[in-house]
């Protein structure tokens, strides 16, 4: 998966994951607060935040595995900094990453249009919800409530991770630091044309 990756891309992806690991941790208390107010559905409103790095890394680097690996590393960083969720969080990160990765894979890692990024955010929502359904025992909740949770998470994944992630990555490309990465190169071609 990582064989044709340049080492530079791996470290940059890791750096992005570290930054977002911190962001994810910062949003955990926000999520917990919302859960205290609205119940488990509180998390779903902002769940897209936790998919951001896979969208951003995949959009910038455009290689197979970027979405999956970056999300996994971000989860690992959360554990390393001392998230109280423990090693189980790494599994949760992998599950989220697989959702986005599957969408990029279905495009053969060639198409990074806005609608694909939206779909990738929703892909993470689908896998993470399936995982949560099993691990957090949503089966015990009323069906209507579970459906509402799922719909909210899909929207959050598409809007926060898809639209938001694209905005952040495009902003970064404008600064010129991505000149040697796929996104920066694409931008250069567009400017030249």
């Amino acid at each position: 998966m990582h064989a044709n990756w340049r080492f530079k891309e791996i470290v940059v992806m890791a750096a992005l994951s570290v930054v977002f690991g911190v962001v994810y941790l910062a949003f955990l208390p926000v999520g917990k607060f919302l859960v205290g107010l609205f119940g488990p559905i509180g998390y779903d409103i902002i769940f897209g935040v936790w998919f951001l790095v896979s969208i951003i890394a995949a959009y910038i680097i455009r290689k197979p595995g970027a979405a999956f690996l970056s999300e996994t590393i971000a989860a690992m960083v959360e554990v390393l900094i001392g998230s109280t969720a423990g090693p189980m969080l790494i599994i949760a990160g992998m599950v989220q990453g697989i959702g986005a990765e599957a969408v990029f894979a279905s495009m053969r890692w060639k198409n990074y249009a806005t609608w694909v990024l939206l779909l990738a955010g929703m892909g993470s929502a689908v896998t993470s919800f399936t995982y949560g359904y099993f691990m957090s025992g949503y089966a015990a909740l009323a069906t209507g409530y579970v459906v509402a949770m799922f719909v909210l998470r899909l929207i959050s994944g598409a809007v926060i991770a898809g639209v938001g992630g694209k905005a952040i990555a495009d902003g970064l490309a404008k600064t010129g630091v991505l000149a040697s990465f796929a996104l920066g190169k694409e931008q250069k071609r567009k400017d030249a044309a």
């Binding site: 791996i10 390393l80 423990g86 099993f134 025992g137 909740l141 970064l172 630091v177």
Partner: protein
């Protein structure tokens, strides 16, 4: 025997395995017993301070409480609604109350298992052990370690960006919205500097001969010994005993009905 001496990968596997097992349990007694056992093990063999331990436990308790009341309210209607329990002047169907308690004690049990890992594991050791035991490619693992080194620099970098903004006349924000806007202005410069640093680090590592090859030597090597397997078996046995005790008391429930 200290928990710190155990192989980090095996410890992580044990914790993950137990959390998966707990996901099948829908009665409150099994997770409750697991909480007590895990807490005992952590405090007795983990060289962990009581105060810090319980401080870290607070967020789980809040989360568990949220889980408790929402499960009580948003649950599927119970099959036997006439069978009620009265707690503090309110009466709940017995079945709903037990499921709600089961889900919230599960949160706490997962919490105690996670704390066992967090408090007794060294970060770098965990990653090195992941390369050596779990066959994570060194190219990725060392990339992560390099990225991880940026973490302490982030705070300085943030101060720098902050100062740079101020010197260009961006005023200090005081309202909640203002603060939010201020932090979002930090996002791009912070990420940009992280990317620049990462690029430079990668080049430096490669120029010094890092290839990411699996045939390499390690400063610290880890292996799996008998006591690691012992720990795994002990924890699984504790789970089995907890489930059996719960069965004897007539509470045991496997899977949501």
């Amino acid at each position: 025997m200290y928990l710190q001496r155990l192989n980090p990968s095996i410890k992580a596997c044990t914790v993950v395995l137990l959390i998966i097992l707990l996901a099948f349990i829908f009665d409150p007694v099994t997770p409750m017993l697991m909480i007590f056992f895990t807490m005992f093990i952590t405090l007795a063999f983990g060289k962990v301070r009581w105060k810090t331990y319980f401080l870290f436990f607070i967020p789980f308790s809040i989360f568990a409480f949220g889980m408790l009341w929402t499960t009580l309210i948003f649950q599927k209607p119970p099959t036997n609604a006439a069978d009620t329990i009265t707690v503090l002047w309110w009466s709940y169907p017995r079945e709903s109350l037990l499921t709600a308690l089961a889900l919230s004690t599960r949160v706490l049990a997962v919490g105690s298992l996670s704390l066992l890992f967090i408090f007794t594991t060294n970060t770098i050791d965990f990653i090195l052990s992941l390369i050596q035991q779990c066959k994570v490619p060194p190219k990725i693992a060392y990339g992560v370690l390099a990225g991880y080194r940026f973490l302490p620099m982030m705070r300085d970098e943030m101060k720098l960006v902050h100062a740079a903004h101020r010197i260009r006349g961006v005023n200090e924000a005081h309202s909640f919205w203002g603060k939010w806007k201020q932090y979002s202005r930090f996002a791009i410069p912070l990420l940009a500097s992280a990317i620049r640093k990462a690029e430079r680090t990668a080049m430096a590592m490669e120029s010094k001969g890092f290839t990411g090859d699996r045939q390499r030597t390690y400063y610290k090597s880890f292996s799996v010994v008998l006591q690691d397997i012992g720990f795994l078996l002990l924890m699984v046995a504790a789970f089995a005993i907890a489930a059996y005790l719960s069965f004897l008391l007539g509470y045991f429930k496997w899977g949501a009905s």
